[in-house]
Amino acid sequence: MNIFKQCKQYFFEDLPFFFSMPAIVWEVIFFCIPIICIVGISFIKNWDVSAFSGITLFHYIKLFQPIYLKIIVRSFLLAIWTSFLCLMFGYPLAYYLACKASQSIRNILLFFLILPLWTNFLTLIYAWYFVLEKHGLINDILLSLGLISAPLVMLHSLFAISIVTFYCYLPFMILPIYVILEKLDRTLVDASQDLGANMRQTFLRIIFPLSIPGVLTGFLLVFVPAFGEFAIPLFIGGDKYMFTGSLIEHYFLIARNSSMGAAVTSLSCLLVLVVTLFLRWSIKKKFSYIEGRK
């Protein structure tokens, strides 16, 4: 009876911990353990034969050949470029939504911003396919207006891939920045102007620095999935351009070389981790107040 009472006491003292248990167990079983397995597999000579074939660094060495490096660098650049585009277009919109728009306009715009997220990701990509294709929406309009005489080739280009990636990930940049700006204490803006700063100086010295946590969150929410993006290059880019995602798919599902696939996966994870840590570190150094916020 006493033990039961004690258990009950522990339970209620640390309620948040107990309620987070299912999620923690889920993460461990379906994320941590698989990642460890993948890293392990990447060091095994040939995972796809039943017998143990020995340990090797061969797959990693192979990855440093120019043909593979090019794919990884291309993915990296696409992710950086998309994040950059999202930031450039997303920040002004987030700023407008949070600071300038009236309540009704804000609600309407937020609704339209979130609307694409209700639709299946693949459906969105297919929709873009029909917009960009040879007899697609854009070409039809331009042709009927007489602006062009022959259909433009837009699909299967890096331009098309980056446009669609940008479109798909834009909300993930806007929303965290919007949340931060919306919560920003307006008296700080008043104070800055009161102390002699005009709106431009106030933005550069107060508003933007204080919104960095949102920018960082948005950047990671765009950068990480865009780096591993595989559906967009497949449908929009055709088989013309290989990206890390398509490379992983190729090794696991087509070439049946799991060890090689695992090596690509591990290296990508490492790269993303390094970028994330670097961003956190560089921003923490400059904006030390972020960490201490409670």
Binding site: D185, T187, L188, D190, A191, S192, Q193, D194, L195, G196, A197, N198, Q201, R205, I206, P209, L210, F287, S288, Y289, G292
Partner: protein
Amino acid sequence: MKSIHLEFIKKSYNESAIIENLNLTVPSGAFFALLGPSGCGKTTLLRLIAGFEKVEAGRILLGDEDITNLPIHKRKVNTVFQNYALFPHLNVFENVAYSLTIRKIPQDVIKKKVTSIIKAVHLEEHIFKSIRQLSGGQKQRVALARAMVNDPEVLLLDEPLAALDLKLRERMLIELIDLQNILKTTFIYVTHDQFEALTVADYIALMNHDGKIEQIGTPKEIYEFPISTFVAKFIGSTNIFQGTLQLQNNEVRLEVPKLGSFLVMVQEKKKWMLDGVTAFMSLRPEKILLSIGVREGFANRSAGIVESIVYHGRSTQYNIRLKNNFLVQVFEQNEEHFEKEVVDYNDEVQLYWQKENVILLER
């Protein structure tokens, strides 16, 4: 330091005017308190002077310069905000230096000015601390230093001490007075706390619920010679009696129903003081002498029953129920120089006061 003139100011929210036809002059170099109940528009008035809000009609003058349409950042007026509004990503030094950095003043000059103002508010030890590491009182000083470093013509303070505890508030009030004496800047201090206003201000402007200025004067004028029952009740405690005015053989009396008539001293005769009009008298609790026995030499007397006794430390408050069922407050100083008569619950007591102790009011 410069003066502020507000001329025929109008401001409304959601089409209901909260300030209308307001005129106010704040003399240059004064410590001026804007006092009023919550929601009377005093903070709005401050925000109009700072430029955060635009006036709908009227003019704002800083010295001789019309600043009505000047943008916020061009006004030589600085504000100390109620919640301090310190920049969380900057440390104490950077916060204070903000306005100087904006004006692109050379680094060595900035350093000298900031260091000296930080010394003036006693924060030398905390100069490179982050804002999060400061206590409420220290944050208050940073906000003050940040607003002062730019040598504003007028400093606006919006309930700056509201978040501090009583002891700290009393100390900061004294420091504010000292600081104002050194810097000679015009201070406009908004507060709803009559104690703060009485302590710091050279002049007090008391605003009423309609956004109008009820009375302007020195703390003593406002306290001793209120012009209406609103002022008398807002500043300190008072007892208000309603009655009928009687003018007979150079004597002014107020006839209070079911209680009797009381002799009132009138400094100067006003137009409204006619025989038979309804009037009010304000009698401060500390001006009443309370006694069980008979006292000589007082112009007025009334009897009542002690209903409750509240001990305040330095004084004791007696609540006396009069014959007309009116409850009167009386403060007795606990000076204990001589042995006093003991007054207890339900004792029948006499209240005495002089005709000079009463203020006669029209409304």
